[in-house]
Subunit: 249 residues, 2 copies
């Protein structure tokens, strides 16, 4: 390994000295959102080497007084202005040479954000949403991280209704269904899907899509107006206490 670890060399350039070899710790975020049509991931274009001009997951070094999760939250805010309503760690990537400069261990997080709060790309870095099935090749091992994040997200969906944090407070049944279909990679029958969702008892009926409603209206497309629902957190947490609820499809 040609990593920048120096024995017996110190001064301004290498001021942090330890008894044993250490690693740098970063936290990366796989930020998912949903625009009602596609599942999107947030990527940043790198400004420096290595992998200059390649797209990468947002993330960065964890400070000495932070947990990985706090670091992830901070980096995400700094780089994209986003606050994750759901942050979930799912693995560690520790291959010694995954960063060519020095050994970097990364803790990636699945971050789910509501798509309303769009990423205002900050100063230097360019940030953009990509549909998950159309991401370009990424820097480092981020392709692999993204792929494992998708698997982990699929699994989470079996145990809790994380998907609701991807939706606006008001949403329609077809939107919810599309989201499930994208994440799980499976098609569902409209009627059966709606029946199941309603029977879970965590949805509140809110009315029909209309100008008075703060749901996104689509006026371009000719169709009947869908019903609007919202997610009832109280009912969900009550339900969680009672038993290992079964959210599978």
């Amino acid at each position: 390994m040609a990593h920048s670890v120096f024995k017996y060399r110190t001064g301004e350039a290498y001021p942090y000295c330890y008894k044993y070899p250490q690693v740098a710790l970063t936290a990366d975020c796989v930020v998912f959102s949903y625009d009602g049509k596609d599942l999107l991931v947030l990527l940043i274009k790198r400004g420096q080497e290595p992998f200059k001009d390649r797209w990468a997951l947002p993330g960065g070094f964890v400070n000495p007084d932070e947990t990985a999760e706090q670091g992830a939250r901070r980096e995400l805010l700094e780089e994209t202005g986003l606050e994750a309503s759901h942050l979930e760690q799912f693995k560690v990537f520790s291959t010694p040479d995954r960063d060519p400069r020095q050994r970097v261990v990364t803790v990636p997080f699945i971050a789910l954000v509501n798509h309303k709060s769009v990423a205002g790309g900050d100063d230097a870095a360019e940030a953009r949403w990509f549909p998950v099935d159309k991401v370009p090749p990424l820097a480092f091992d981020h392709d692999q991280i993204l792929s494992e994040a998708r698997t982990a997200l699929r699994r989470s969906l079996y145990f809790s209704p994380v998907s609701f944090t991807l939706l606006p407070p008001q949403f329609t049944m077809p939107q919810l269904q599309r989201l499930y279909e994208i994440i799980l990679g499976r098609k569902f029958d409209r009627r059966n899907f709606a029946r199941k969702m309603n029977s879970l008892g965590v949805l509140d009926f809110q009315g029909i899509e209309s100008a008075g409603n703060d749901v996104v209206e689509r006026k371009d497309v000719p169709s009947r107006k869908p019903s609007i629902f919202s997610f009832n957190r109280v009912k969900w947490s009550r339900m969680k206490d009672e038993s290992d609820t079964n959210f599978e499809f």
Copy 2:
């Protein structure tokens, strides 16, 4: 933080110098096994401070040229002589002061071992199997790690038959059932359990328990002799390719 990070100090005692603050990386193993009756965890008694004489999970520092998983495998072998037939990373623990000496980030692994290969505690360290429900208070944050490992194990069982790696090659249906019951914390009906397991199509019938069979015979207890099964890895992997198999109970 009173951690041992020194600026501008070097020499034999602190020979590893870096540009940015670093962390030490350890890999811990939550080693489960099953003796046909209890789910067991392997613990080691600590020989030094901090937490001298407290029980702890086996584990140790990851070398510069190893992934966390390789480190876990090596430490496990060094400390207990065990080889894990299933190693699964499930989380990272990165609270800054979880080790009082310096910042240590740990990657814990669920290690499943076949109970035949018992832990021959090595030189200094004392190693012992504890039934999971009777573990003493552990060093560091290992209580929490253990508790999360049990949750992760339960979840794994929904997606793949990891439990088979805890059983000897030949096992009986009641043994398998007990294992499921312990991990999932739920009781099952004998008939329904056997029916479901058989219907999964990954078990091979091997005969009836007898002296000619290498399954553990119990001669102390008066009862009818059970049938013996083995796990068919080939059928399982074929099945995995076909679809997201549903292993839940």
